[in-house]
Symmetry: C2
Subunit: 335 residues, 2 copies
């Protein structure tokens, strides 16, 4: 059996079981106590009065990025944002970054300076420092970032806290990064204005760090970031929460320029596009609705958590009719 | 200019300068204060009364390992040991591990189970838990581990604390992993007994975690682990400490089976072999000499820190004659 037979998430499940069955208990040294292991946006442990969080994310050339769609400087920004977004999804703020570069020997040094400039832009903007890492030879270029962060509040945002009756909400808009990829890689012809918006959305996403902290402080308990596609990620959240969800397609927030540029395709992009780095969260309506106005960015209620097969997400149109599942989220071994 | 023109350490220097010049100051949140950034075995920050350390290490197939020399299970053990050894070199104990797998889609699932079994063996032996990670597609297989740890003592072992007049010491013996590689990859013919010792040294090294903590508690301030070769690593330690060193070749601890198996080559292997994961440390002789007997493993004084061009290491034979530099340490882009 090959990893392509069971897919990325099948492999993760299998390895997580192995860790649970054959691994030792988490160590407890000094005042460190593990709170969350495999399965959320980040691992988390108590240390003293705070909760530290720890995440990692990787980009491989030809798999996650090509230089056509993502110049090195944008890649630097994006790989930091992918990690920062995981910290945002826990309700934390970032602390310290390790960077691993895997590089072919003929990689131009100037490219690596550009990559680092992009990473350092994100470091300045979101207040984290690169404190170490590793540089290794590799036949294919890759960048791995590992990032720690801290939650001031004792409350963490987790994927497993969705409850039946909660509303489902998402920050910002979704689908534009997927539109940007269509423009950059597949040469889709759109207006200059749309092109600018879509390419910016693809190359220069923002982690919702402030929003994550506002949500955690206000008492929201359940969130994750949208990196593999809205429906796919909501399904993962529902699975570990033991619930299902119903999403109203018409409520899913889409930028007008995406809708205009791709009138046939925008909904598919919004429901199944990845690399959004928006926050998906759930909570009681009376808690969530007044919060929407307090966030830095817009946020929109798009549906509700329901009793259903865990992980089952239904998308309905304006007349309540179920839309056929079209496309799927990102799986590294099945894409 | 390509990265092969400036080498691994030239690239690291350049990127470290960029981080210092263009990066933001390290964030200070709650009770977190950065103590050590780029340039040591691990980054380190104060948190409450302890010091947390953070390291990462990567193995790329065909670069760091081949399945001929390193079956997956051994690779799992070794990649954990490479990281654990960095924690040992700071005087810390390990806490939490993130694992990133980059995999071609046709990778057998059973191989990944073997890899994880090897990692979990090391986790059980040295008390760390795998708490998360990432799985991505990649044309070449790679494994990146990021590991946190904690130093109970307020004293950290660092590379930059060597002082003129200190003795230089190393735990265990050196050279046997390089001998094992000769046997496994180049088919060197040696006795059955030697083969067993050398292959075990190559495939199943041990991090000197207990020794690192004993050294830190006793007041030793300067250490690093031997991963790129004894002379090369000592040179790095001397460079950041602003000193030189003089090593007596006859004192360098070599296993008798290595000496017997490679009578012409054992010294080169001992001085320049990598992946040893022994601890190299320096300190005043009156502090270090009585300590040697207290360590779990043997340790040997091999030379002395001297005033010299920073980073200059001289190796002398029994009559005090300088040995010509033969071979060099591991550089990912020049090897």
């Amino acid at each position: 059996m090959k990893v392509s037979d069971i897919g990325e998430f099948g492999l993760i499940d299998l390895l997580a079981r192995l860790v649970a069955e054959e691994g030792p208990p988490a160590p407890e040294a000094a005042d460190f106590r593990l709170r969350l292991g495999i399965g959320d946006d980040a691992a988390a442990w108590q240390v003293g009065r705070g909760t530290e969080v720890f995440t990692t994310d990787t980009a491989v050339q030809g798999v996650h990025f090509t230089l056509a769609s993502t110049p090195w400087r944008n890649l630097g920004w994006k790989i930091m944002v992918a990690n920062l977004s995981d910290i945002a999804a826990m309700g934390g703020e970032p602390l310290y970054t390790l960077v691993t570069l895997g590089l072919p020997p003929d990689t131009p040094v100037a490219d690596m300076e550009e990559l680092y400039r992009g990473m350092l832009e994100a470091c300045r903007e979101y207040k984290t420092a690169i404190v170490g890492g590793d540089v290794v030879g590799s036949p294919v270029a890759f960048v791995t970032v590992a990032l720690t962060g801290v939650c001031q509040s004792s409350r963490l945002l987790t994927r497993s806290a969705a409850r039946e009756g909660d509303v489902v909400a998402v920050t910002g808009t979704v689908g534009s990064p997927a539109g940007g990829l269509q423009v950059l890689v597949h040469g889709a012809l759109v207006s200059t204005e749309a092109r600018q918006h879509l390419v910016e959305a693809h190359r220069h996403p923002h982690p919702r760090l402030v929003e994550g902290r506002v949500l955690a402080r206000a008492g929201v308990r359940c969130a994750m970031d949208v990196s593999d596609g809205l429906v796919d990620d909501l399904s993962k959240l529902c699975l570990v929460s033991g619930v299902g969800a119903r999403v109203e397609a018409e409520r899913v927030p889409v930028h007008p320029l995406l809708r205009k540029a791709f009138p046939q395709d925008y909904l598919r992009m919004a429901l199944h596009g990845g690399e959004e780095y928006e926050l998906l969260f759930t909570g009681p309506e009376e808690l969530v609705r007044p919060l929407l106005a307090e966030l830095l960015t817009t946020a929109t209620i798009i549906g509700r958590v329901v009793a259903d097969t865990p992980g089952h997400v239904v998308v309905v149109d304006g007349s309540g009719r179920e839309l056929a599942p079209s496309g799927a989220g990102w799986d590294h071994f099945r894409a």
